[in-house]
Assembly symmetry: C2
Homo-oligomer: 221 residues x 2
Amino acid sequence: MKIDVSKPILELNDNIAADNRNLLDKHKVFVLDLMASPGSGKTSLILKTIESLRERYNIAVIEGDIASDVDSQRIKEQGIPAVQINTGGACHLESQMIKKALSVLELNKLDLIIIENVGNLVCPTDFYLGENDKVMILSVPEGHDKPLKYPGVFQASSAIILNKVDTMPVFNFNEREFRGSVSQLNPEAVIFPVSAKTGSGIELWSQWLSDRIEKARQSWG
Amino acid sequence: MKIDVSKPILELNDNIAADNRNLLDKHKVFVLDLMASPGSGKTSLILKTIESLRERYNIAVIEGDIASDVDSQRIKEQGIPAVQINTGGACHLESQMIKKALSVLELNKLDLIIIENVGNLVCPTDFYLGENDKVMILSVPEGHDKPLKYPGVFQASSAIILNKVDTMPVFNFNEREFRGSVSQLNPEAVIFPVSAKTGSGIELWSQWLSDRIEKARQSWG
């Protein structure tokens, strides 16, 4: 019932991702791969994270979209370097695309690159890009049952950002049930309830990211 | 930058989809392929559609999910036959999976099959399953800019359901901009603003679907 073409593609992808990682280690650049559904607030969350961390770190953004450059425009308006990748029809970023994006960024001037993956809770999960951490966003309107339906992305994420918590009263989002499902799938994952609109919770999330960057720096020496 | 494995897979898929279509024509069964992001309200919309059309048509549902059977359970509770397909990791349904699902349904007793595709705005677009129409749902919290970012799914859809319109006041959803983008991508597509929660707009949408079924029946003679 399934045609397995994934293995050779994933192997090729992982080899190039390892090259990306070597290059990033050399320049001591931390990379975050941010995954989420369409419309969960990825770009808004990135903008808030930049606001919170731009004094401490030099940041760049790689924007992955099927089409359009509206997201990278929003980032550039904040004076932050942004590379737009349009995947054509592809539902996820691959390491080869990131390799190309890295080649146009001034890595020796950067501390942190945030990759905004294509809006999709399935495909980006399996593709290692050379990142330090994968993190996902789930937004409250998507519903608390999503860990049951898309377990892979919840398992692949070091942290889970629960966005649009300001809309909790409008939706019947059962946070307790959500946390229960997540902890069954991925007991290590930290959950950050935030609102990229009001700014609530952004500080805690940014602190976690900053801690991860500092930990990577220690390993680089 | 892209590895093209899609062509042979799509050809194989289309051949089996054509077999599905022949079988469905023989039994005069109309099939709707419903596509949307995770959490846009696909199952709730299907339940409302069933409520509205069950007096007129015998309906069954094919539920596609990466994992879990919570959605097909909700359908079965309404006394409607439902087949659950768990794709494992796959981000879309393929015609071979539908073929298997059709083999366990009593086609001679059915008028309408609604397929709930995997929650994903990208991958389901390219896969013909043997359906009469592809229809998509966008929910208000996802934002009015989605046609720009996911043009393929908007182009593939005969109708576009704009769900969760009861939450318009909470989100800055610009309906005018949304309609403008849709009409540029797909001038033929009909847009149905609905709320699967309150029931608003469901009647107009159901009427459209009913018209499509009647039109197909005329072609079957």
